[in-house]
């Protein structure tokens, strides 16, 4: 783009009300999510943890959508893949690594749950489990509570395309629709539920059409276009905050890595397919945008890369030095314990 061309157009991020700094921070968090993910694979392969679940390819939808929330005020229900979401709302790399290694100091669950099962009371990150879709009715309940108290809090709930087949998806969206609750439903549609492709999951091209059945808008966005995701989510958040009810956002994306460390994705998809999507990497795409608008150059980008790597390594160091839970503590906290 020439300088003249640039002068003639409004940059997308400005049109969306994002400053250059915002956008660079968003980009940095996306890179941090990627770097943490890559480090998790190394830890898992190196025997430092038996399990890893990561989000390569999902950073666009995760970070950009969470960016549209009011941090510390809005409620967030991520699912196991949402590393980018929890980072965007403020979880530190160290906390993520304490979780990845199952340490006693892990704020998510103190080593009780599998990695990727997020919880952080101070950050309004609501505890999630493994059974798919159960968090969707929770989101409705959380939003109902906010509404009953007359707060303007918005609740954002995340899930995959597979989750849209579960009964709880339906019951949760229907409840939110009936009560016009301030919820944003964000579906990260990566075309697969482990090995099951979209064609076997639903007989529709766009899952967003389902929103019409619940009486609220549904939109499909390119999940690898962080700015598009941000725009769609911001609009949904504004609608919710204004008392206009829920929105369903379907962000189409792709998982570049296996489902989890227990998966072998070569059993159900071709290297060509993965490669094609790798060329649409949301991080590359945002990088290209930043460079196009002169908000980033090679030097600055490398500096970001270096900071991110440092942050990750520091997190790993701290987490590895952090103690395991005490064996007998397994008996605690089945019920409330005084004191």
């Amino acid at each position: 783009m020439t300088t003249t061309e640039r002068r003639l157009r409004t940059p997308t991020h400005e049109a969306l009300g994002l400053t250059a700094d915002d956008l660079l921070s968003m980009y940095t968090v996306m890179r941090l999510a990627r770097a943490l993910a890559e480090r998790m694979w190394l830890l898992q392969r190196g025997g430092k943890t038996p399990f890893a679940v990561t989000a390569e390819g999902h950073e666009g939808v995760q970070v950009a959508s969470a960016w549209a929330l009011d941090r510390g005020r809005d409620m967030v229900l991520p699912y196991y893949r949402d590393l980018g979401v929890v980072l965007a709302v403020g979880m530190s790399a160290k906390e993520v690594m304490l979780n990845a290694l199952g340490r006693a100091a892990d704020p998510n669950s103190g080593g009780r749950q599998l990695p990727g099962h997020w919880f952080h009371a101070e950050l309004n990150i609501v505890s999630g489990s493994s059974p798919v879709a159960t968090q969707i009715p929770h989101a409705a309940g959380i939003a109902l509570a906010s509404k009953l108290r007359g707060e303007e809090t918005v609740t954002a709930v995340y899930f995959g395309d597979g989750a849209t087949s579960a009964g709880d998806f339906h019951e949760g969206l229907n409840f939110a629709g009936v009560h016009r609750l301030p919820v944003v439903f964000i579906c990260e549609n990566n075309g697969y539920a482990i090995s099951v492709p979209s064609s076997k999951q639903a007989a529709v091209e766009d899952l967003a059409v389902r929103a019409a059945g619940y009486g609220f808008p549904g939109v499909t966005v390119d999940g690898n276009d962080a700015l598009a995701v941000y725009g769609a989510t911001r609009e949904a958040v504004e609608r919710a905050r204004a008392g206009e009810g829920p929105t369903f956002i379907e962000a189409k994306t792709y998982r570049l890595a296996p489902h989890t460390s227990a998966d072998d994705d070569r059993l159900y998809r071709s290297p060509e397919e993965v490669e094609a999507w790798r060329r649409r990497d949301p991080i590359e795409r945002l990088r290209a945008y930043l460079i196009e608008w002169d908000l980033l150059d090679k030097r600055k980008d490398e500096a970001i890369g270096a900071t991110v790597v440092e942050e990750v390594e520091e997190a790993v160091r701290l987490a590895e030095a952090s103690p395991e839970p005490e064996p007998e503590s397994a008996l605690q906290h089945v019920f409330y314990e005084k004191g």
């Binding site: 919880f119 009371a121 489990s129 159960t134 929770h138 409705a140 229907n174 089945v334 019920f335």
Partner: protein, 327 residues
């Protein structure tokens, strides 16, 4: 102090807790304008408004799931499942979510919901309006289970359940609603969860029961007293956590135990009571650990003839008491 029935006791507990604490609200099917199919919530919509007495869509998983969400966001929801028989669609939310919330957050957060459901047979409801479902949830760590027998206990335990920081399943015998009457004080009180009650002291034999069967058991105990058999009746009131101390104390005194429940025999709560006694009071026992329960069929059939055959009755309990006493 006045005589009220169990239905009224439940109603009053809900009403008083709603008045006492703004965080308390109700959700369920037909609880609003209609006041509940059993009329336990009559007048509450009028008094507290549509926001706190929510008629939900027909979706039990959402009823419990929404309650869970609201509870971790500062509210104290009381969910009604119209009949205990329809709690099964909500099992995932109850077992995977409510029961495990505190454990998986390493104690940082609880899930203070109450799930109320009318249970039990003897009302010509057929196999889908007569079930006792407690054994399905019994033994799921993280769940409290309450089954009150008297209006006093129903009111005091429901209040305790609403104030409890953890999830409580609260089962009300639908036949007891209007059948069972009793004294209830005017002032606020709670009955602690986890404590059984000796509803009749006795020396010869311990009879452990709960819910409607606690009444039939008392009736049977009084009847056999005429034959000189002095039965101690322990009304469990709370199934989980089980009041093991109260059970053992009684059995160690009497040396014999009969356990009665309306739920079918196999895998019922009675099995755990029997196992407890067989392990912890073995040296005190003077006769086989005996259970009386509904047969292993999928709840009472509709036809009166079939239903009567299936229900445990005071007569059947009397017979079992006599047999065990004679051992």
């Amino acid at each position: 102090m006045g005589q009220i029935n169990l239905l009224q006791a439940v109603h009053d507990a809900l009403r008083e807790e709603m008045a006492r604490d703004e965080r308390v609200f109700l959700l369920g099917e037909d609880i609003g304008a209609m006041g509940g199919v059993f009329r336990t919530t009559v007048g509450l919509l009028e008094e507290f408004g549509e926001e706190r007495v929510i008629d939900t869509p027909l979706a039990e998983s959402a009823i419990v799931g929404v309650a869970i969400g609201a509870s971790v966001n500062g509210m104290l929801p009381v969910a009604e499942i119209q009949f205990a028989d329809f709690i099964y669609p909500a099992v995932n939310q109850i077992v995977s979510e409510a029961a495990k919330w505190r454990y998986r957050t390493n104690g940082a957060q609880g899930c203070p919901i109450v799930v109320r459901a009318p249970y039990g047979g003897g009302v010509h409801g057929g196999p889908y309006h007569s079930q006792s479902v407690e054994s399905l949830f019994f033994g799921i760590p993280g769940l409290k289970i309450v089954v009150p027998a008297t209006p006093y206990d129903a009111k005091g335990l429901l209040k305790a359940a609403i104030r409890d920081p953890d999830p409580v399943l609260f089962f009300e015998h639908k036949k007891s609603y209007r059948l069972v009457k009793g004294e209830v004080p005017d002032e606020d009180y709670v009955v602690p969860i986890g404590k059984a009650r000796v509803s009749r002291p006795g020396r010869d034999l311990t009879l452990v029961a709960y819910g409607l069967m606690a009444h039939y058991s008392l009736e049977a105990a009084e009847a056999v007293a005429e034959d000189g058999i002095d039965v101690e009746v322990v009304d469990l009131r709370t199934l989980a956590p089980l009041d093991t101390e109260a059970i053992l104390e009684s059995v160690k005194k009497t040396s014999k135990v009969l356990i009665v429940h309306e739920d079918n025999l196999t895998g019922g709560v009675g099995a755990e009571v029997a196992a407890l006694v067989g392990q912890e009071a073995f040296d005190y026992l003077d006769g086989p650990i005996t259970r009386l329960a509904s047969p292993d069929i999928p709840a009472m059939p509709f036809s009166a003839a079939l239903e009567e055959f299936a229900m445990p009755t005071a007569d059947k309990i009397k017979q079992a008491l006599r047999d065990l006493a004679a051992y």
